[in-house]
Amino acid sequence: MASTIQQSEMSAGEIVLGLLIEQPDTCYHLDKRIAERLGSAQFSRGAASRAVERLLERKLVRPADVEAQSELRAVDGRKKTVYETTPSGVDHFERWLRASTQTPPVREELHAKIALWGSAELPRLIEIVREAELACTMQLSDANREVRADRDTSEVSEWERTMQLIVSAGEATWWDARIKWLQNVRVYLEREHARRQSEAGPQRRRAPAR
């Protein structure tokens, strides 16, 4: 999953910018708002603070109201800095929002493993694929529980419901693609393994006669 995190952190900056334009906030709350808005499939905890760090370097965000230092908000009893966007941050976000969207590259550790597997024992690779399939299934299940919990607790308007549905469908589609790809890989590898075994079978039987 390493590459998906890289991929998502590239756009985490823009997402954080967008959220800060809506309302200045702390990193802690930004993480929460990202999860609410985009689902938990693609962003890890702490993605917001990493993004804020990079945005600070590029002067696209700044601590809100530096002079007064009054804009501190308590999180778990500690005071945390509230960030806001700079004019150039707003400008960057506007340009990004209107630019064409890139197709995310699909590079995963497993891709590389399959590509480099060569003639090594197939059962182990099949097992790795199986483990990945199970892991995806369980993460999908977790995501389902979260979506349901949100849905059960909140009274929402028709528009909000539609937006929730669209977001959750996006997340589900992401898992769907991954699980189906893994299924296809597994079925193909299992078939190949069976073929190799049936080829090796008769030879093995002949061996003792010699």
Partner: protein, 262 residues
């Protein structure tokens, strides 16, 4: 567990031509407990329907067992014979079991061209008097929120309405386990979600065990557990720990399978 449907080490294959067999299910184990929705996510032609038919007792597996409420559907020969005998006797007296333990639901044409409420009632007339059957049919349609479809014909219904009517037919005999064969793949996003929520609440309210075959991950949203099925092999997360593990070692851990199959 009381009312659980359990598949244990089920194998199924179909002959293709004289020499070949197609392996449809390979060492599949699965449990559906009362009140939970289990979704089986599989692509087309990967054994979803076969799995449901085996679970419904419509298809006999080559190997393995299918248990409902702790009873083996196929191996309990003595018991099955006794049940058949009783059923025959009761039928002669004009009474037949009013409820079924397991119902399989598909969105297919009922075969008789009458209004849907009458169609559901007709299917119940073997076990109920006409008026009672009608009342049960009406109640089932009400329970799935399809009362307004009662006097319409199957051909005039939309896909979403058909799914609801099919579920109504399924629950009209008050089953303990409902098997649902991909009702939502042709539906729009919000319609599909409504049907999924319906199954979720039916399971929760009635303690109904629901096993649903689905073609995409979005349709698993309202299920309690997700399994994936491909190449005949079912991969599934273990269920939450139960108070009393009635059936140990039936959940399909990938490691276990490799140990037994290898």
């Amino acid at each position: 567990m009381e009312g659980s449907l359990v598949l244990r080490g089920v194998w199924l294959s179909y002959p293709r031509g004289r020499r070949h067999v197609v392996r449809v299910l390979v060492d599949v184990s699965l449990e559906v407990r009362p009140g939970e929705v289990v979704a089986v996510l599989a692509q087309r032609a990967q054994g979803k329907t076969s799995l449901l038919r085996v679970a419904a007792g419509m298809e006999r597996p080559d190997r393995g067992s299918v248990l409902f409420a702790g009873r083996d559907m196929w191996r309990d020969g003595e018991d099955a014979r006794r049940r058949r005998h009783h059923r025959r006797r009761r039928r002669r007296r004009g009474v037949c079991s009013s409820s079924v333990p397991i119902a399989l639901v598909r969105a297919s044409h009922p075969g008789v061209d009458v209004p849907v409420e009458e169609g559901i009632a007709l299917a119940l007339t073997g076990s109920h008097r006409g008026r009672e059957a009608r009342e049960l049919a009406a109640r089932a349609l009400e329970d799935v929120g399809a009362s307004e479809c009662a006097q319409r014909h199957w051909d005039d219904l939309g896909d979403g309405e058909r799914a609801r009517v099919a579920i109504a037919q399924g629950i009209s005999r008050d089953p303990k386990v409902l098997l649902v064969d991909d009702l939502t793949s042709t539906l729009a996003l919000d319609e599909a979600e409504d049907v999924a929520i319906l199954l979720h609440s039916l399971a929760a309210e009635r303690g109904l065990g629901v096993l649903v075959g689905v073609g995409d991950a979005q349709a698993t949203r309202w299920s309690d557990r997700v399994a994936t099925l491909a190449g005949g092999a079912l991969i599934m997360e273990p269920p939450p720990p139960s108070q009393t593990p009635d059936y140990p070692n039936i959940i399909d851990f990938p490691g276990d399978r490799n140990a037994t199959a290898g």
